[in-house]
C-alpha cells in the first residue's frame, strides 16, 4: 500500500482507540475504576428530560426594583426635609418614570433644597425647575449601573438559594438581558423550589458574638463529619479574641445538628469556609436582632487603595442608614459584623473604628493575591448590592420531569436508535453487498465517534438529541449512497474498480461537503435560538455531521483502497 494510505490507516486506528477511551466512563458509569476516573472522567450528560429534574426560567424585574427605589427615596425625603426645616406641599413619584417631583412651599425652600440636600445624593440630578417645583431623577450612569448589576445580584442570590437544595450539577446561567435559567437535575420537590427561588433577597448586618461559646459542651459527642474548632483573631486594641465554632463539609448535617443546640437567646447562622481548595460550612453565633439591613445602602463599588495597592469594597448608606451605622460601629469596635444574605453569612469583617458620614469600607483578608482579592471584592460588592436593590424575580417558565418519565424517554430513545440503526444497516447491506457492509462499518464507527466527541465535550444528550442521532446516521448514509452510485456509473462506463473508486470519491467529495455544510448552518442557527432539549438536538446534529464526513469519506475509502488496490481485480461488489 502507499505511504499515505498507512498514514490514514494509523490515524483512523488512533481515532477508534481514543473514541473507546472516552466512552468508557459514559458506558460504565459508576463502575469505572478509580484510576481510570483520574485519567479521564468525561462523560455524556443526560438532559433534564432524560434524567428528571427541574428547569426554571426566572425573570428579573429590574424596572420594578428601580422604581421601588425611587419610591422609598421619596418616602425618606419627607423625613430629611422635615429635619432640615425645608417646607414642602407634596412629594411624589412621577408615573412611568423614576423621577420624583417635589412641590415646595416657596421658592426659598426650593433653593435651599438644591443647596443643602440634593448635593449629598450624587445619584440624583435635577431635571426640571419650575416655580416652587423641582423634579429630580436618577442620573443615567446610576441607572445603567443598576441595570447592569441587577442580574448579577439576582444570580448570586439564586446561587445561594439553589445551594440549599444540595443538588449536584446544578446550573445557573444568564439568559438574554433580564432572565436567568436554573437547572436542577434530580430535584423532586418543585413546589418548594418555586417558593424559595421566587423570593426577593434579604441582606442583613448582624453582630457576631465570638465570645459566646455554644459548642464546646458538645465537643466530645459530635456526629461524624462535624468537627469543633477554635480560631483567634485580633480584636479591640490588638487583644486576641477566641471564637468557637463547628465545621462540616456536609451542610444538611450541620443544619440538622444545630437545630438541637441550645442557642441561649442567640442565633446560629452558617457561612462558608475555604480550606485547601475545598468548601466547608461553619457556624457563626450572632445576635438575634438585626440592627441594619441592606435597604439603607445606596451604592457599593470595588475600589483600589493605591497606597497599599489592595482592592476593597466601598459602600454608602442613606441618611437614616448612616446614623444607624455610625452608632453600630461606634459601639462595637473590635467586634465582627456578619454580612448575612438570605440567612447565610457571606463574610464577617472586623469593625476597625467608628464610621460616620455613611461611607464604609470593607477590607478583605490579608494573605491573598491581588487577583484573588479583586474577585472577592467583586463578589462581596454584588452581595451588598443585592441588599441595595432587591430586584424581584418571577418564574416565567417551569419544566419538571419526574424520574419515571425520564426513564421512559431513555428507553424510547434507545429503542429508536437501535431499531433505526439496524434497519439502515440491513438496507445498505442488501442493496450494496460488500460495499454496503463497508458503509455499515463506517456508520457504526460514526455512531461511536459521535458519542465519544459528545463525551469529550461533556455535551448533553436529550430525547430530541437521540432522535437527531438516528436521523444523522440515516443522513450520513447519503454520503456513501452518493459515492457508491457514482462508482457504479464509472464501472458501467467501463472503468476498473480501482479507477472507478478513484473517480467516485474524487468527484463526490464537494457535493457531500456542500450538502453537509448547509445542514450545519441550520443546526448552528437552531442552537442559537433553541432551548434545553432543542439545543441538545442541535449539538448532536452538529457533531454528527462532522463525524460522518470523516467516517463516510475517509474510513470507507481506506477499506475500499485496501480491497481493490490491485488493478487485477476486475469485479467490484457494489
Amino acid at each position: 500500500m502507499e505511504k499515505s494510505w498507512w498514514y490514514k490507516f494509523w490515524f483512523t486506528i488512533c481515532v477508534i482507540i481514543l473514541s473507546f477511551a472516552y466512552l468508557i466512563p459514559t458506558f460504565m458509569g459508576d463502575k469505572t475504576p478509580e484510576w481510570y476516573k483520574k485519567l479521564n472522567d468525561r462523560r455524556i450528560r443526560l438532559g433534564l428530560d432524560l434524567q428528571g429534574g427541574m428547569h426554571l426560567v426566572l425573570g428579573v424585574d429590574i424596572d420594578k426594583a428601580i422604581s421601588d427605589k425611587a419610591d422609598s427615596f421619596a418616602t425618606d425625603l419627607e423625613s430629611i426635609l422635615k429635619e432640615k426645616g425645608i417646607e414642602f406641599n407634596k412629594i411624589e413619584r412621577v408615573d412611568d418614570s423614576y423621577q420624583i417631583k417635589i412641590s415646595f412651599k416657596s421658592h426659598e425652600h426650593a433653593v435651599s433644597f438644591e443647596e443643602k440636600v440634593i448635593k449629598e445624593y450624587p445619584q440624583f440630578t435635577i431635571v426640571n425647575r419650575g416655580g416652587n417645583d423641582i423634579i429630580i431623577d436618577f442620573n443615567d450612569e446610576y441607572v445603567a449601573n443598576l441595570k447592569m448589576t441587577a442580574i448579577d445580584q439576582a444570580m448570586k442570590t439564586l446561587t445561594n438559594r439553589v445551594d440549599e437544595f444540595g443538588v449536584a450539577e446544578r446550573s445557573i446561567a444568564k439568559k438574554g438581558d433580564n432572565a436567568i435559567l436554573v437547572q436542577l437535575p434530580g430535584l423532586t420537590d418543585p413546589e418548594r423550589a418555586k417558593g424559595l427561588l421566587g423570593q426577593t433577597a434579604q441582606l442583613e448586618f448582624k453582630l457576631v458574638e465570638d465570645t459566646v461559646d455554644l459548642f464546646s459542651q458538645y465537643k466530645d459527642n459530635l456526629p461524624e463529619g462535624i468537627t469543633f474548632d477554635r480560631a483567634i483573631y485580633e480584636g479591640k486594641d490588638g487583644q486576641p479574641v477566641t471564637e468557637h465554632y463547628l465545621v462540616s463539609k456536609d451542610k444538611e448535617k450541620l443544619l440538622n445538628f444545630i437545630k438541637g443546640v441550645d442557642t441561649k437567646g442567640y442565633q446560629i447562622v452558617l457561612g462558608k469556609e475555604q480550606r485547601e481548595l475545598e468548601t466547608y460550612y461553619r457556624t457563626y453565633v450572632v445576635q438575634k436582632k438585626t440592627p441594619l439591613t441592606g435597604e439603607f445602602i445606596t451604592r457599593t463599588d470595588v475600589l483600589i487603595d493605591h497606597e497599599e495597592n489592595r482592592p476593597y469594597v466601598g459602600l454608602s448608606f442613606d441618611v437614616q442608614g448612616a446614623k444607624i451605622f455610625e452608632k453600630l460601629t461606634g459601639d462595637n469596635v473590635g467586634r465582627r459584623m456578619a454580612i448575612v444574605l438570605d440567612n447565610f453569612v457571606d463574610s464577617a469583617p472586623v469593625i476597625k473604628e467608628k464610621i460616620s458620614g455613611g461611607n464604609a469600607r470593607i477590607t478583605l483578608g490579608a494573605m491573598k493575591s491581588y487577583e484573588e482579592l479583586l474577585e472577592e471584592a467583586n463578589d462581596l460588592a454584588i452581595v451588598l448590592r443585592s441588599g441595595a436593590l432587591p430586584a424581584p424575580v418571577e418564574i416565567l417558565e417551569e419544566r419538571t420531569v419526574g424520574p419515571t418519565l425520564g426513564k421512559d424517554s431513555i428507553d424510547k430513545g434507545i429503542k429508536s436508535i437501535v431499531i433505526g440503526t439496524l434497519l439502515v444497516l440491513l438496507f445498505m447491506m442488501i442493496y450494496y453487498k460488500l460495499s454496503g457492509l463497508i458503509a455499515d462499518f463506517a456508520l457504526v464507527l460514526n455512531l461511536f465517534l459521535i458519542l465519544a466527541i459528545m463525551a469529550f465535550f461533556e455535551a448533553t444528550l436529550t430525547l430530541p438529541g437521540m432522535a437527531g442521532l438516528v436521523l444523522t446516521l440515516a443522513m450520513a448514509v447519503d454520503a456513501n449512497v452518493l459515492i457508491n452510485e457514482r462508482i457504479r456509473e464509472e464501472v458501467r462506463a467501463g472503468k476498473t474498480p480501482k479507477a472507478a473508486i478513484e473517480v467516485g470519491y474524487g468527484k463526490v467529495f464537494w457535493t457531500i461537503f456542500d450538502a453537509n455544510l448547509t445542514t450545519l448552518i441550520s443546526a448552528i442557527i437552531l442552537f442559537q435560538f433553541g432551548t434545553g432539549p432543542i439545543r441538545g438536538f442541535a449539538v448532536t446534529v452538529t457533531i454528527g455531521i462532522i463525524a460522518s464526513m470523516f467516517t463516510a469519506i475517509v474510513v470507507t475509502r481506506l477499506v475500499m483502497d485496501r480491497i481493490y488496490h490491485s488493478h487485477k481485480i476486475e469485479k467490484i461488489s457494489i
Binding site: L405, Y431, V477, V481, A515, I534
Partner: protein, 382 residues
Amino acid sequence: MLEIIKPGTNFDFVGKNKFFVSLSSIFVVLSLICLFSMGLNFGIDFSGGTEIHLRFDKPISVEQIRVIVEKSGYTKANILSIGEEQKEYVIRVAEFASIKDSEAQRIKELLISNYGKDKIKKFKFSGEAGDKFEIKFTEEVDISKLKEFLISNKVDCIDVKREGKTTEFQYLVILAGISKKIEEAITREVAGVKVEIIGVDAVGPQVGKDLRTSGLLAAIYSLIAITIYVAFRFDFRFAPGAFISLLHDGLITIGVLSLIRLEFDMTGLAAIMTLLGYSINDTIVVYDRIRENLVKYKTKTLAEIINISVNEMLARSIITSLTVLLVASVLLFYGGHTLRTFSFVMFFGVIIGTYSSIYIAAPISLYIERFINYYKLRSVNR
C-alpha cells in the same frame, strides 16, 4: 447489482414541470389558507400555559378527566391519552397561574373583611407572574395565623413569607401550582385512584410569545443563510430555485401540520429546520450534477441537461429518502408523544423535500436561465 432504477432510464421530468409547478402552487396556496384560517395548534412552548403528564394506577376515561379539569376552573383543556390502557394522560390547559383574577379578587375581599380595609395597603396578583400574590399590611401580622386563615378559606397556599423592607410589612403568599390542584381534584373525585405526576411544563404567556418570535426568526435566518451559501458556492441562477423550493417545503409542511392539528412545539420547529437542511442537501446534490453536466455536454440545452442530471441522480435520491423514511417511521412508532410532531415532520418532509428538488428547484433555475437569455437577446437585437 441490485438496482432500483435501471441505468439509462430517462423520465422526462422537465417536460412535466408546468404541471408540477402548478400543482405545487396550488398546494402552497392551500397551505397558506389552512394556516391563516385555522392557525397552528401551538404547543405550550409557543402558546404559553401548563401541560401536566399524569399516570394513574387504574384506567380513567378522557371524559372523566375533562369534567374534573373543567370543574377546577381551567379552560381550553386538551387531553391526550398515552398508550392503550387509559392510565396515562397529558393534560394541557391555557392557564399559567393556578388561580384566576376572579379568585384573586375573592381572596382580596376575604382579607379585607378579616383584617379591615385600612390595614391592607396593597394586594398584588398577576397571572403572568405565576402562583403567588403579595399583600402589604400597615403593621406586622402573624405569619402562621395568616396562613391558617387562608387555608381555612379554601386558598391552596403552600407558604407565607415576609419579604421586602423591615419598615414595611409585605408578605408573599405562595400558592399550589396547577398540577397540584388537578392532582388533588382527581384524587378527590375518583375514589381510590393513585395519581402520579410524572412531568410538568409551564410556560408564561410572555415567554411563549418570545419563543414564537425567536423560532420564526431562526427559520428565516436559516433560510437566508442557506440561500446565500448556495448563491456563493454555485451560481446566482441556482440560488432562487433553492430558496423557493425550501420555502415550498416549509410552507406545505406547516400547512399540513395546521390541517391535521398536530401540536406544534419547539421540537416541531427543530424538525422543520432539519427538514430545510435535508431538503437543501437534496437540491444541492441535483444542482451539483447539473453543474457537472453543463461542462460535460456543452451542446445540449439546459432543459436536456436538467433531465439527464435528475435521471442520473434518481437512484440516489430514492435510496437516501428511503433510509431517512425508515428512521422517521421508527421514531414515529417508538419515539413516544414528545417526538410525534418531530417524526411526522421528518417523514412527510423527506418526501416533499425530494419531490421539490426534482420538480421545483431544477425547473426554476431553468426559468431564470430563460429569463436571462430573453433579456440578453433583447439587448442584442437593439
